[in-house]
Amino acid sequence: MNVTEILFGILTVMALFSALLMITSKNPVHSVLWLIVTFFSISGHYILLNAQFLAVVNIIVYAGAIMVLFLFVIMLMNLNNTAEPKKNRWLKLVGGIAGGCLFLVLVAALKDSEVKRQFTEVKTGDIGLIKNLGKELFSTYVVPFEISSILFLSAMVGAVVIGKKE
């Protein structure tokens, strides 16, 4: 075991643990905070892959902006146990079965795939560095990149239009 593997292990345990706590914690604010911890551990994985730009953008966009808005809404709604509607027991059962089926399908699909036999190669490649990533995005993938930016723009305009409606 070298340092990279130890770091990978720590980050993976952290990611899974915080993701589980995010689902299981009763308080929605705690859920959001655990989700932020998950994002951090995923950013750690990106750094192990030498994808520095992706790691920092993941933190700026998700942890720094989107999760702040999530927290914002949840804090203002003042959710607590009394306000929570009672869930039907059958509904829970159906949800469990559906989720279990999805899990089963995913496991079955990935069981024999190539991925299993490949180790993640850490700190090889420098495609995640900002210069190379920018060159790729603006040469090979320029069309999908621009299309997705138009999608974002239209979403923003849509949000403003909805917000303006009295």
Partner: protein, 356 residues
């Protein structure tokens, strides 16, 4: 597995020098923040024609120690209905995010020690300035978590104000930075400083990006929650803001984090727009001086620039009244963002035109 031994290749000297540097910079930030509180009181006194603190030591020079001691020995009160863990985590986060930013700042040209060139920068990472941006965007959690965990409506309102203010002002800040990065062509802080050295002080980015600097400065004021943007702690509307329920050193951490943020944003602005450790009107490379002297001089110059910014921050605080909340949002979204976009497009056009 191949190519993954890089963490083990780090030698012992490297670890030792980084630890020393981290320790030095963190103690430095604390010390500067301590004396910034003293300077704030003296500047306020000067602007209001008072004397200011003058009891502890000569000229009241021991006042920060007395303040700190007082905060440490005060009773610690955790509200019964608060969420206790988060209540404690709030000020911790505020302090951690304030201290983290200094990691990518180049503090001097570098020292040769025992045949090695020791860089005076903790980490010269590829994403440099984006790292600062990421840490600054996390600063909001200290306020939000503290405000929410206090279980107090005023605190919650202040926390939400603070969060929306910080998220809003990050946008023009980022746009102003993009224009700067187009000039430099690199995100590394060391390259940004190298780019500004030479030609007296006419290579400093302030001459190429005056509008960008003004936008960045206004956003830095807002990100530090300094007047005229200190809406999260507007005492006449929200009692005391997000740290209303806090007492003793937890309150101290919140107040202290603000001063560290002020210091760091002063350093960042000096590095980005005012040449960092570059000594104006001196061609350092041509002097042939000992690198040690140059490093110390560069560091002193950087600190002087940062202190000038801290003074301007204080000057503004004791001169300009607080904005109203809708004015704050209008300024951010309807003035600064269009201005920053304009600045960005104009810079892009000029950069392209000059390259042809």
């Amino acid at each position: 597995m191949r190519g993954n031994m890089y963490l083990l290749q780090i030698d012992k000297f490297f670890i030792l020098e980084k630890f020393l540097l981290v320790g030095f910079i963190i103690s430095l930030s604390m010390l500067v923040a301590m004396y910034a509180t003293y300077a704030e009181r003296k500047v306020a006194a000067f602007l209001q024609d008072r004397i200011g603190p003058n009891r502890a030591g000569i000229f009241g020079i021991l006042q920060p120690l007395a303040d700190g001691g007082k905060l440490f020995f005060k009773e610690e009160i955790i509200p019964l209905a608060s969420s206790k863990t988060l209540f404690v985590i709030g000020p911790m986060l505020a302090m951690i995010t304030a201290l983290l930013t200094s990691a990518v700042i180049p503090w001097g040209p570098g020292l040769p020690i025992a045949g090695r060139n020791v860089s005076l920068q903790i980490a010269d990472i590829n994403i440099g300035i984006l790292y600062i941006f990421g840490v600054v965007s996390l600063g909001v959690y200290g306020i939000m978590i503290g405000g929410w965990a206090s279980n107090n409506k005023f605190s919650l309102l202040a926390a939400i104000r603070g969060a929306s203010q910080m998220v809003s002002y990050e946008l023009p800040m980022g746009l102003a930075l993009i224009a700067l990065l187009m000039l430099v062509g690199d995100l590394r802080m060391s390259t940004i400083v190298q780019d500004q050295i030479g030609k007296g002080f006419f290579n400093w980015h302030i001459w190429y990006q005056p509008l960008g600097f003004i936008i960045f400065f206004i956003c830095a004021l807002a990100e530090c929650n300094r007047t005229p943007f200190d809406l999260p702690e507007a005492e006449n509307e929200l009692n005391f803001g997000y740290h209303q329920e806090y007492s003793s050193m937890k309150l101290g951490f919140y107040l202290f984090a603000e001063y560290i943020n002020m210091f760091i944003s002063g350093v960042v602005m000096s590095t980005l727009y005012f040449g960092g450790y570059d000594i104006p009107f001196v061609n350092e490379a041509g002097l042939g001086w000992d690198p040690w002297v140059l490093s110390v001089l560069g560091f002193v110059v950087l600190m002087t620039k940062a202190w000038i910014f801290i003074f301007i921050f204080m000057w503004i605080r004791w001169t300009i009244p607080r904005f109203r909340y809708d004015q704050l949002m209008n300024l951010g979204w309807k003035s600064l963002i269009p201005l920053a976009l304009l600045n960005m497009v104009a810079t892009a056009v000029v950069v392209l035109w000059l390259k042809k």
